[in-house]
């Protein structure tokens, strides 16, 4: 459904999720210089609408997999904020007990199946999760998020072929922010005909080039419905822009590899503001306040959580 088809509640829900993720990552960036965060951070500031729009089309039992840049997906799907911050702080209460760091967020409760720091590795893992759904005949679908760079890894094509061959319920979502670290598409892609290529596997493939959360949400909803009907995988190429440096809390428009001008249209089309402007101001300030409060509590929680016991180093090498 596009914006005019959404209810006021839908809009409130979308705004809350967008604003919450934006503010959480802004706070992470603010705290970062204090060295309380013991982990690299790959912020999704500017890219939130992709995770929020897609995941809003899912139900709780659907699965999501992502990468080191999937704080947004983790949070949108319902992953614990306290667990995430504590994990970044290296505390025992972190989502991985301090063993995974910011690049490997997981939440079995929210069906976030994990995140990987080796580009594209999560793609076949998510396909495997989709195979499980088919074998166990659940009605769940799996969504996997990855960057434009991940589409250069051979495993991406192997995964598309297998998912299409077995008509698996998986939605492939490429967050195309135009860069792999500092390297633009022009240096990595022979052409930009990605959705056309994916379509040759018999996979419905669509692009959203303007970051519009409503288009993203309605396309996702259509595709997820089709998947639940057993029609097999689908693919979304979502154009977006990374507002901060590849890794770390700062902007890097002075680094020379990209200009602030290129970012400006994206910043002016900030979906957090766009959706924020569509909801009742009093509701908005209520939500904003709740979010600030939740974040403050999460930072507190992480701050005051215990560090892991030394013996934890040796736990979980093997499952028993």
């Amino acid at each position: 459904m596009l914006s005019h088809q959404l209810s006021a509640d839908d809009l409130l829900r979308l705004y809350r999720s967008l604003q919450r993720i934006r503010r959480i990552e802004e706070e992470v960036a603010r705290v970062y210089p204090s060295d309380k965060i013991k982990s690299p951070v790959h912020l999704s500031i500017g890219q939130e609408a992709l995770s929020v729009g897609v995941i809003d089309a899912l139900s709780q039992s659907d699965l999501v997999a992502g990468s080191y840049r999937s704080h947004a997906a983790y949070l949108a799907k319902g992953g614990s904020l306290k667990g995430m911050i504590a994990e970044m702080y290296g505390k025992a209460t972190g989502s991985s007990g301090g063993k995974g760091g910011s690049m490997h967020l997981i939440s079995p409760e929210a069906n976030v199946m994990g995140a990987s720091a080796v580009v594209a590795t999560q793609i076949p893992n998510a396909v495997g999760a989709a195979l499980t759904q088919k074998m166990k005949a659940t009605k769940n679908v799996v969504v996997v998020f990855f960057g434009d760079g991940a589409t250069e890894e051979g495993v991406f094509y192997e995964s598309l072929n297998f998912a299409a061959l077995h008509k698996l319920p998986i939605l492939f979502v490429c967050e195309n922010n135009g860069y792999a670290i500092h390297t633009p598409l022009e240096k990595r892609w022979a052409t930009t005909r990605l959705i056309e290529r994916v379509a040759t596997y018999g996979i419905p493939a669509q692009a959203v080039v303007d970051g519009d959360i409503f288009k993203i949400r309605s396309l996702s909803a259509q595709m997820v419905d089709a998947m639940r009907r057993g029609e097999g995988p689908a693919f979304l190429e979502l154009h977006t822009y990374r507002w901060r440096e590849h890794v770390g809390p700062n902007e890097d428009f002075n680094a020379g590899y990209r200009s602030r001008e290129a970012a400006t249209p994206w910043m002016e089309n900030d979906q957090v503001k766009v959706v924020g402007a569509m909801i009742d101001p009093s509701n908005k300030s209520l939500i904003d306040a709740e979010i600030e409060d939740e974040i403050a509590q999460a930072l507190d929680f992480a701050e005051n959580s215990p560090i892991p016991e030394p013996k934890e180093l040796y736990a979980h090498v093997y499952a028993h």
């Binding site: 590795t121 076949p124 192997e158 995964s159 061959l165 979980h316």
Partner: protein
């Protein structure tokens, strides 16, 4: 070969493998078998025989040639509740699966703080002879031994093949299951009922006081032949089969070596950073100075595997080369050297084998 008292049925290694998988598939609906050509009429040399017919194509299916993604699929399926068995016709091809096995499978349980498990079995076959050559003859399991989070098992006989397969399938961790192709048609007593061979417990296959001989995979068979020939000339070997390489039962090997004061490890692999290096290092660390243990390794020649049989014969350890090495170690370098009867040093499993593949 090991003979459990209650088992009177003789089975081939390949059939024991198959039976182990079949019994687990019957017991647990989450177990499935996939990999290139598991469902064709050659049935991975017969090791998947009948599984398709019995369990259907949803639980026994071939794949595209996509080892990297298929490994990732197996891991993802395992992380979400299935128990996949992924089959490779050659161990060499697992080099395409390294990223998923080393960076994901081995680490998932740990880096997610114990919140997920990856109960996965990866079967692969080691090729030998008839021109298998550079890319179809490798045994690269030490690479997997190097990485915490993976288990590695190399059963040398039909009894262990079944028991280890069942144990591997039930294990909640990724298990690298390595089968030597020439063992497929060797026979042993194999109980019909389901049983597990526990990992991390070595087996003493022959008792002796002169030297401790550790054989790995098919080298257990070749060591036992050497042991028979040597017994006739009064040299008594204790032959040990580690069965699983990770976990590794170093204690059993150490205890034997401390008694015999001689240790020879024979691997069907390169020795450099191999399983044989690890075994010597563990013994050296644990035995301590003054233990006076003479130790040696035999494995592949430190070369790529050539196809010409006239070159290949020196690439591999053999009952003869093993026996001669043992004889020299026991009798001392300057003892008159001794060579076993070449005819009796030949192994049936080697002679049966004929090309093309």
């Amino acid at each position: 070969m090991f003979t459990p008292t209650n088992a009177q049925r003789v089975l081939r290694y390949v059939d024991a493998l198959r039976e182990g998988v079949e019994q687990e598939m019957e017991r647990d609906p989450d177990v499935f078998v996939f990999g290139l050509d598991v469902d064709d009429h050659k049935e991975i040399q017969g090791s998947t025989h009948g599984l398709l017919k019995k369990f259907g194509s949803s639980r026994v299916f071939t794949t595209p040639l996509s080892e990297d993604a298929m490994t990732g699929v197996a891991i993802g399926a395992a992380m979400t509740g299935m128990r996949p068995i992924h089959v490779h016709i050659r161990n060499d091809f697992m080099m395409l699966a390294m990223n998923q096995l080393v960076n994901i499978a081995a680490k998932a349980h740990y880096m997610y703080g114990g919140k997920v498990k990856a109960p996965l079995v990866v079967r692969s076959m080691i090729g030998k002879s008839w021109g298998q050559g550079a890319q179809h003859s490798q045994a690269l399991y030490s690479m997997f031994m190097h990485v915490p989070g993976l288990k590695v098992v190399t059963p040398s006989n039909a009894y262990d093949a079944k028991g280890c397969m069942i144990a591997a399938i039930r294990d909640d961790n990724p298990v690298i299951f390595v089968e030597h192709r020439l063992l497929y048609f060797t026979e042993a007593y194999v109980p019909e009922e389901s049983y597990v061979v526990e990992f991390g417990r070595a087996r003493v296959c022959a008792k002796g006081d002169d030297i401790t001989v550790v054989g790995i995979s098919n080298m257990v068979v070749e060591s036992l032949r050497a042991q028979e020939l040597l017994a006739e000339v009064g040299v008594y070997c204790e032959v040990i089969d580690p069965i699983s390489l990770s976990p590794l039962d170093a204690e059993t090997i150490l205890a034997s070596a401390l008694r015999t004061r001689r240790l020879l490890v024979i691997d069907n692999a390169w020795t450099n950073c191999g399983a044989s290096a690890e075994i010597l290092a563990r013994v050296m660390e644990a035995a301590g100075p003054g233990s006076n243990i003479q130790a040696k390794r035999i494995g592949f020649a430190p070369t790529t595997c050539p196809t010409s049989p006239w070159l290949e014969k020196d690439f591999y350890p053999s009952p003869s080369s093993i026996a001669q090495e043992i004889y020299a170690m026991v009798k001392g370098e300057n003892a008159v050297s001794w060579t076993p009867d070449p005819e009796r040093a030949k192994l049936a499993y080697q002679m049966q084998f004929r090309g093309p593949f």
